[in-house]
Amino acid sequence: MKEFKGRVVAPGTVTAPALVSHGGLNTLASFQKALQFGDKKATCGDQNNPDLYGKEMVGKALCLPMTIGSTTGGLVLYCACAMKRQPACLLFSEHIDSLAAAGSVLASVWLDEVSMPVIDCLGKDFLDYVKDGMSITVKDDGTVVVE
């Protein structure tokens, strides 16, 4: 068991299994197919991401360095939240990028009853330590417990 402390971007608490991407999450490439064609488990469609490709993202604690790719990224994340196909939480090892931040902010301001805690600045050690399937608990103050 190990604890990491990050910055709270979107508050909330959750416990969920980890899903880890060591490269950037391309939000459009990852979510588009799932959102368009009714995949309620949001299977990742990004062929360039060997860590996530073909894996289910709904309900997972998505651990990643940043999101990358098309500037539709934020609205795709917003749509995923509106359609309740979002990850349980987003845990960034680095400072959150502008697209993920937009998605997170848009969901908090414009959607009711959406919960997707977002923590950033967890550090490189976090991504080195966490592995797929480990249990992640996110606390209100930005503490992330990995066990």
Binding site: N26, S98, A102, G103
Partner: protein, 426 residues
């Protein structure tokens, strides 16, 4: 973040609940990046990334309608990314049926929303809005609230405008409020380079391959690129701008680059030179072997990797007039060399509607048509993103299209050979 009295009043609801939410969105977004203030948007036009009435985007259309109903409309008009449909682009009966009745069933109603929100004109649908024929070309130092990764990186790098990599929806929020948060690529410090890229190739590197390599390496950082001026020259000619358009699109889609500097060529690199480079910048050397390695590592996700291509797209991002003319001549020469009359694979060149209209006034339009190439203003990416098209073996020289779809990437020379079987077999 320190707000002016006017900004604070809007946030407090002086202009209604919806406008207050718009302001709250921008403030929260800015706070995430420790922005110190909101600064005025100064460009004449905005550019939005969301051009498609894709059914999965229903939550976005609902949000847009809230803005319209509340009269929260921008004073800026805008261009928007390309339309997802064009009857001229090859599709079978089933594909056409699904496009119109399922995937893009909300296209017409969404375009009505865009008109209400301030669309520049009926033909303002392109990712390359900054081309002269389109007319949405910001000036150096202009502050933008744009989205569309390829347009943002071009505006920042080639035109010297200032814009963060805004997401869709956030683009229109900034335009409605008339302000964007001051952070990142809007600041002098945020525009300095933390990577030095040394281009040591023995020939002019393929724009979209070089951009891909750099994007995957530097991700969201700003690279300062040395050695490329040897191939592109020191002036922003039409040819250099077209190269940088394609190069930038690949850096932005294969990574998350929002700004690059090309030594001796792009405006800030010309003015400030190596003073743009941060201390302890990392170094990435690109030679022929590195580009070969990058291309060889692209996954091929066709069910049958040896399948014969059924469609070829050239023009993601949309082609400029110069590129259309060059491609017309190259295809003609390729066909002449092979003895073929028309392209051997159904091929679509994509370009902005305004460029298409100008191109059609030239002799090249008839010459291109004679080769069998279809000229369209469609978004190839949106065309490809469905299970029916995803199963098709489609080839492209766009690294952006490769990244987001099942299409297979080849260099321009390889594409030319495949569609004409003339010229040098790559």
């Amino acid at each position: 973040m320190i707000l002016t009295k006017e900004q604070q009043a809007i946030l407090d609801g002086s202009e209604g609940e919806v406008k207050a939410k718009v302001m709250k969105t921008l403030v929260m977004y800015g706070d995430t990046f420790e922005a110190d203030k909101l600064v005025p948007v100064t460009s004449k036009y905005n550019h939005l990334v969301t051009s498609f009435g894709l059914k999965m985007m229903t939550p976005v259309f609902e949000l847009m309608q809230k803005l319209i109903d509340a009269g929260a409309i921008s004073e800026q008009q805008f261009s928007v990314d390309p339309r997802p449909l064009d009857p001229k682009v090859p599709a079978n009966f089933l594909q056409k049926f699904i496009f119109k009745n399922f995937m893009y069933s909300t296209q017409e109603s969404y375009e009505q929303q865009l008109k209400q929100l301030g669309l520049m004109d009926e033909n303002a649908f392109t990712c390359a809005c900054y081309l002269d024929e389109v007319g949405n070309k910001p000036g150096k130092g202009d502050v933008l609230s744009w989205a569309e990764s390829s347009a943002v990186v071009y505006a920042n790098s080639v035109l010297g405008a200032r814009c963060n990599r805004n997401s869709g929806i956030m683009d229109i929020m900034g335009s409605i409020a008339g302000y964007v948060p001051h952070f990142g690529l809007l600041t002098d410090e945020g525009r300095r380079a933390s990577w030095i890229v040394k281009v040591n190739t023995t020939k002019k590197p393929e724009a979209q391959l070089l951009g891909s390599a750099i994007g995957m390496k530097v991700m969201e950082d700003v690279p300062f690129i040395e050695g490329l001026d040897a191939w592109l020259g020191e002036e922003l000619t039409d040819e250099a701008c077209a190269y940088l358009k394609d190069f930038g699109a690949a850096t932005a889609s294969n990574g998350a680059v929002g700004l690059y500097h090309i030594e001796n060529l792009t405006p800030e690199a010309k003015e400030q030179g190596r003073a743009l480079i941060k201390e302890n910048a990392k170094v990435y050397v690109i030679d022929d072997a590195e580009l070969e390695r990058v291309q060889a590592n692209y996954p091929v996700i066709w069910k049958n990797p040896d399948a014969a291509p059924k469609l070829c797209f050239v023009g993601c991002p949309h082609l400029s007039m110069k590129q259309l003319i060059d491609w017309t001549e190259k295809v003609e020469k390729g066909l002449e060399a092979s003895g073929n009359k028309k392209v051997l694979i159904p091929t679509v060149f994509t370009t902005p509607p305004a460029v298409k209209a100008e191109f059609e006034k030239t002799e090249y339009a008839a010459r291109l048509e004679k080769t069998g190439v279809i000229l369209s203003s469609i978004c190839p990416l949106m065309y490809m993103n469905n299970p029916l098209c995803a199963k098709m073996p489609v080839i492209t020289c766009s690294n952006k299209l490769r990244t987001y779809t099942t299409s297979r990437y080849y260099t321009e020379e390889e594409i030319l050979y495949k569609i004409t079987e003339g010229g040098k077999k790559a």
